[in-house]
Subunit: 538 residues, 2 copies
């Protein structure tokens, strides 16, 4: 019965590394077009970037690089992939193409990128892929897929953290509502990178090392209807249920028996881990008094309860009432000062706006469990990263558009972050590959890419080169290690203070400046004028 299968090809997860077939068909048809025309090895440069920050904000946090490099490293069509492709491509397709595909790996590519966890801005390439035209094309869709959700999710988590404030514990509780198992895994991983403290998702704990948290649900509370259902009542040689009932009588509480039984049962299993879910019947009239009785009983045994969780109702009001009651108990009983500081966890349909609102209302919540809004990025469920060809065989490619913001910046470029004296970023500057980089202490002309009236001289106190070469197949593959999740998480926290608060804030944030060098500006506009001749009116 229930035999394990070695792999689940038709299931939710494919075995092993991400298949190179996880791409759009047109990448393969274009690839065949290039190959057929003998152009597949032409030297090309592709930029992966976005045009608009998500969530009506003015910043984005880059995520997904570790997955991208892993994908690039493992890129190989298997025999069965090739077999499938033979059937999917037209019958007349040259068999030599499949032989070529079977031989492809990403050794001829170079992949430059900004470090994972960097705060990034529109137009600056977060990944730059340099190498044979066909190979750059083959990885497009997968790179977009891997960068888009990871960056969106990390940015979302950073925004939630910003809204909650630094002193609060943030827990990701969204697995059940996530977009599939992998959506859930990515959510756990990248919300941790963005500054969450943990997740409910055990697999994310196992695979990514994210701290896991969790206690019990309403079902557990409901599974008890009376104290008679307690098979055991003994902890440390004392009757915990009797102790709790004693406190209930002493304090004059009338509460739900099943709920009290559930808290006792949970404490028997986790004598030092009670966080009681107190809103199954009535938060203030039953759940909280029941918790207090069990917590006082645990205290008698030299144990400490940890706190309560509320999952419904007016969270600000309830948390204040609960805190007041905790403080009162701490005053009423001896040697129980810690009671005033028991943890209050809240977890009902929390989004960024709710966190801001709670702060304004005043609340006593210590930790938030956040699900749906976080993991599905409900406020904006997709980031629009794009991947554009900017150069072939040394010739620039410029994609023009009636919408100026959609004009691509051609050619291979090197982006820098120019820092002011206080360690705060002034702007990001792109220069042409080969152009001299900006130098600390030296004045450099920075220009708006499209508006010739917007320009400024900047004398940076420090210059950060944003691109690093992570993958260079010719030099053996990974030439710069990608950061671990913990390192990227630290990078996010280290990077945020370098961005002005008015760029990070929720309401009416100030756009960060992204500039090009004078040389790049002139070249861009020369090409632009060449591509679009002055129209003749008659």
């Amino acid at each position: 019965m229930a035999k394990r299968k070695a792999s689940a090809l038709t299931g939710s997860f494919a075995p092993g590394p991400l298949s190179p077939l996880c791409t759009d068909m047109y990448q393969l048809t274009m690839c065949y077009g290039y190959w057929k025309a003998g152009r597949h090895n032409e030297h090309a440069v592709f930029d992966l970037f976005f045009r608009k920050n998500p969530f009506k904000g003015e910043f984005t946090v880059f995520g997904g690089l570790s997955d991208i490099i892993e994908f690039i490293e493992a890129f190989r069509f298997t025999e069965s992939d090739i077999e499938f492709l033979r059937g999917a491509m037209p019958a007349h397709t040259d068999p030599a193409f499949f032989a070529w595909l079977a031989s492809v790996d990403m050794a001829p590519l170079k992949v430059y990128a900004v470090a994972e966890g960097t705060i990034v801005f529109p137009s600056i390439p977060v990944v730059r892929v340099v190498g044979p035209l066909a190979l750059g094309q083959l990885v497009e869709t997968t790179l977009l897929n891997l960068a888009n959700f990871a960056s969106l999710m990390t940015t979302n988590a950073v925004r939630f953290r910003h809204a909650a404030g630094p002193g609060k514990t943030l827990l990701e509780f969204g697995l059940r509502r996530a977009q599939g198992p992998n959506g859930g895994m990515s959510a756990s991983r990248y919300s941790y990178m963005g500054g969450f403290d943990g997740t409910s998702n055990m697999l994310a704990g196992k695979l990514y090392g994210v701290p896991v948290k969790g206690t019990h649900a309403h079902a557990y509370v409901q599974s008890y209807r009376s104290l008679d259902e307690l098979a055991s009542r003994e902890l440390d040689g004392r009757d915990l249920a009797a102790l709790a009932c004693g406190f209930r009588e002493k304090l004059g509480f009338t509460t739900n028996d099943g709920e009290l039984a559930a808290f006792v049962a949970y404490s028997l299993a986790f004598p030092d881990g009670l966080i009681a879910l107190i809103d199954t019947y009535d938060t203030l009239k039953s759940g909280l008094p029941n918790f207090i009785c069990v917590a006082l009983a645990l205290h008698e045994l030299g144990r400490r309860a940890l706190g309560v969780r509320i999952d419904s109702g007016d969270l600000a009001y309830l948390s204040r009432e609960i805190r007041a009651r905790f403080v009162a108990v701490a005053a009423q009983f001896d040697g129980i000062a810690y009671f005033a500081e028991l943890t209050i966890v809240a977890s009902n349909d929390i989004n960024e706006a709710v966190l801001h609102a709670l702060k304004e209302q005043g609340h006593e919540i210590d930790a938030f469990g956040i699900g749906t809004h976080l993991v599905t990025c409900q406020a904006q469920p997709a980031l629009g990263m794009v991947y554009k060809l900017v150069e072939i065989e040394g010739n620039p490619r410029i994609k023009l558009s009636n919408d100026v913001a959609k004009v691509t910046i051609p050619g291979e470029k090197q982006p820098y972050r120019l820092m002011g004296a206080g360690g705060v970023a002034l702007l990001d500057l792109m220069v042409r590959a080969g152009e001299a980089p900006p130098v600390p202490g030296e004045r450099v002309l920075c220009r708006h890419p499209y508006d010739d009236k917007k320009r400024a001289f900047v004398t940076p106190a420090a210059v950060v080169s944003l691109h690093r070469l992570y993958w260079d197949g010719a030099a053996g593959g990974r030439v710069e290690p990608v950061q671990t999740l913990e390192e990227s998480r630290a990078a996010v926290q280290a990077g945020l203070p370098c961005i002005r608060e008015d760029t990070l804030r929720e309401v009416n944030p100030t756009p960060y400046k992204v500039a090009v060098s004078d040389q790049l500006f002139n070249w861009l506009h020369e090409l632009w004028n060449k591509e679009v001749p002055i129209p003749e009116l008659s």
Copy 2:
């Protein structure tokens, strides 16, 4: 270089079947609580259902069953899972618990469900899990995860199909914007189930058998700047570029040379597959004329171009202009009547509302490529399925709430769909397990679960039992085969005509009726009154 790893534990996909650790930690802590109290084998019934249809609609399509049964079948903690759990649970946790966990599989469970692809409604359990309390709890989060996105995605696809109309080809193009690789895979799979015709996602083609489609992107068009860049121009012994240029001269077109070269090059690779992306430079002034020239050249060789794709601009207007031009060419040249019916594909930021609007504006689009809005379910990125304990050891559990719609219907239940004479569903009726089922031709009293004034006698022409037993570990595991993707896709199409159009429509749809038997109604309200005693006012 680029060695393949056997598995990518830290990557986007876990190897093999979905791990039982893909769950919330509290399922394991609760499980320990039950085990510690000796209650883990108590007989329990859990219902998986939702309370509100998504997308402001009045119907939902159930998806995810095939993944759920696969997960149930493969459920086993590995040694490394147990090792991880030892570290994640408190140090005092009884070691015998881990030994028990290591022995757990889902053989003692029964899983009933509605068939995948069934149109379903709030409150009716789509999955019913019957068996030991602890096992039912262990599968909760994963079942929710697998059912939520699959059902949401399928429902979204059905809505897009409904909006586009039956004659149109619908293609899912969303991989790059999907929520991770698995989000993309699920989107391809369940949009096909919901009535899409294909996907751009090659891996979904390989793993799920979804038809894959795709031609070329703007980058391909931009990769050519002139006709001189064509390494070859010959097709069937003729110079295709010269033929196309001849038509261009004859018809007096002035168009972009690089674009013409790209269409020629693509045709050399795919002589019977040209769908030209015509909006890189100017849709009507350059792209369309260039396509016409190449299509006429192909016609000279006895080949046929397929059509064009537009990815920007006013799709209704452009499609009408393009169709008019196709019709004009068909009239202008001999033996080319098919030209009037060439395919027009549109693919720019299309959502359900855009499809409805296009229909009203009048358009000539044959096929839609739909990405972001479809795959992220942008209009509502999460479905709120819940999983509730409704019975333990034969005793009902009722979850009360101030919000009447959140009151759970207790006990084990059997849902039926009562059909009218015309093959249209009248309502869904839940009866208590063991109660006599409704019978065709016999009048049955159907009651609103919460409102005692809403009731009706129904004499069904036919009765469909909605639940089937899919998994019965004691009887060897899978006792009813889950449907293939194609079967579920057919089930959706077969099921839709059985639901009244006013329930399916986009604007102000009529809610479908979900009822309980008189016996279940009375029992539910008796329990309700027992749980909530009449309050004393003084």
